[in-house]
């Protein structure tokens, strides 16, 4: 591209570099600099204030010996896996349904998308209320006569994380649906005609022809969903506060509580470094496929 244009390359690229300065500074100072700062301090015994007194892997040993951290990690994986799969599946199915040339498409789309406009704090509050056994669904169903009906996910340690999931999906799946819908609209009508003529069932066309064609959409969707999952914090705070007990704790909350509530920065930094590591493990294969693949493609 630009490199192939010889004259004035240096000067013009300089211009582009200047324009990209905010990005470069952000990357170097914030994303790289702050991350390194945090990783370095995770090996110290910093308490309320950061201090460079190194203690080796002590913080990590303690971290992995803490049941609350283990529960947090487990929750993140359950929540992450379910949220990723469900968002994609629900988003795609809804998009496919809306793509059937139905009536009221605009209205339905707005209804499905609007929760995305609300913050996690609001989402958590409202679902906490609907799932409250004394006020919400459970009590309403019981009032209707089914007195043994029990639905109190937020008060049952075994399933509380799924109660959070209901709210998370409600908030986020609309955006995915819109993405998918846009992707579906981008599929050439000829492909549908062709597969119809061939007598290929509709679901097969979706599964084997349309979805592979929508790879970029899925990539964008996955980026959006995953980046949200790691950060899940507000939702937990507003909906369950980590409870009952510590059944719905998540790593981000462990980090915050360690740093500020327990005034043990070192422990918080160690936990956030582990979170980073998790992200790296997930993201490196993707980055390899995405960037490596593209280079081969072009």
């Amino acid at each position: 591209m630009a490199q192939s244009v010889r004259p004035n390359t240096l000067f013009r690229n300089l211009n582009a570099k200047i324009a990209a300065m905010p990005m470069i500074i952000t990357v170097l100072v914030i994303f790289v600099g702050c991350t390194i700062w945090t990783v370095v301090h995770s090996f110290t015994k910093s308490r309320m204030l950061p201090k460079l007194e190194f203690v080796g892997f002590d913080q990590y040993e303690r971290l992995w010996g803490t049941s609350r951290w283990l529960i947090s990690i487990e929750n993140l994986f359950i929540y992450g896996a379910c949220s990723l799969v469900l968002s994609l599946v629900i988003g795609f199915i809804l998009a496919a349904l809306l793509d059937q040339k139905i009536r009221f498409e605009n209205t339905l789309r707005s209804i499905i998308l609007f929760p995305f406009a609300l913050s996690f704090v609001v989402t958590g509050l409202i679902w906490q209320w609907i799932l409250n056994p004394d006020l919400g669904i459970q009590s309403v169903v019981r009032d209707l006569g089914w007195t043994s009906f029990a639905f109190d996910p937020l008060y049952n340690p075994d399933i509380v994380i799924y109660g959070v999931l209901i709210a998370g999906i409600w908030q986020g799946s609309g955006l995915i649906m819109v993405l998918m819908l846009a992707g579906l609209r981008g599929i050439d009508e000829d492909i549908w005609n062709a597969s119809r003529i061939d007598g290929i069932p509709k679901w097969k066309t979706y599964l084997f022809i349309v979805i592979p064609m929508m790879k970029p959409v899925f990539v964008t969707a996955i980026v959006l969903i995953t980046s949200g999952i790691v950060k899940v914090y507000d939702l937990i705070i507003a909906q369950t506060g980590g409870g009952p007990g510590i059944a719905s704790e998540v790593p981000a909350k462990y980090v915050m509580d360690s740093m500020f509530l327990k005034q043990n920065l070192g422990q918080g930094f160690a936990a956030s470094t582990m979170m980073l590591l998790c992200v790296l493990i997930i993201i490196i294969p993707y980055a390899y496929l995405e960037f490596g693949g593209r280079r081969n493609g072009k």
């Binding site: 990357v27 994303f31 702050c34 139905i102 996690f120 409202i126 409600w170 062709a194 003529i197 980026v223």
Partner: protein
Amino acid sequence: MANNPIIPNGPKPKSIFTTRNILLYGTLLIVAIYYILPLYVMIVTSLKGMPEIRLGNIFAPPLEVTFEPWVKAWSTACTGLNCDGLSRGFWNSVQILIPSVFLSIVIASVNGYALVNWKFKGSEIFFAVLLFGAFIPYQVMIYPIVILLREMGLMGSLWGLVLVHTVFGMPILTLLFRNYFSSVPEELFKAARIDGAGFWGIYFHIMLPMAIPIFVVAMILQVTGIWNDFLFGVIYTKPDIYPMTVQLNNIVNSVQGVKEYNVNMAATLLTGLVPLILYFVSGKLFVRGIAAGAVKG
């Protein structure tokens, strides 16, 4: 593609079964209920008086409509000794929102443009790290940023918060613009170069006008994200300039005697109103913008 069926024949006449329609619309109805129900509960509850709420059913429409909770949430709900409701936070949020949205979009669009058309050595690596930044938990960076802002003298100020929003909006927005600009035919860019247009010339005269749909998407995403932010607002500001979400939290969590669900719901709705209106008004543009840009990888 695995199989490539291209057999041009006359299309078979498609029959519309009513069962199909019943299934389709039935499913959509259930889906719509799941999505709309919480909003309905919020609105209904915010219009009830406390005695009625205590009686029970959260799904029942109000017997007696009252707007008092709304008035209270907006202007008299208390946190500690401050009894001025959400009104103050609203204007703070507006003041934070406008510069943050403007700055982050300008920077991200230039980034995207430079990354696609003016690749320089290492630009791809910078982009990769930037994108990775989208996945870094905010918690990792909260503390060092406190120190950075202190050194810059911006801690606790409006501009400090604007800066933070700009930085954290950058990864996803840059991805958005980069994807969009890479779908612009390269010939266009080359022709402009031959005509002697420079970096900014091409940006303002060719790229900017073409990118309106994606600007709309970016704007909607940022307005929602920044308006709804709680974490940064609470950590990097002070009570004078607390955004609305922070005050919402204060009001909802300041329980004086009994939890006033109706006031809480009204406050919640008021806080969500700006992004909600934006979505209902510009939802179509948003969808179109996404179709135009975000989808192309």
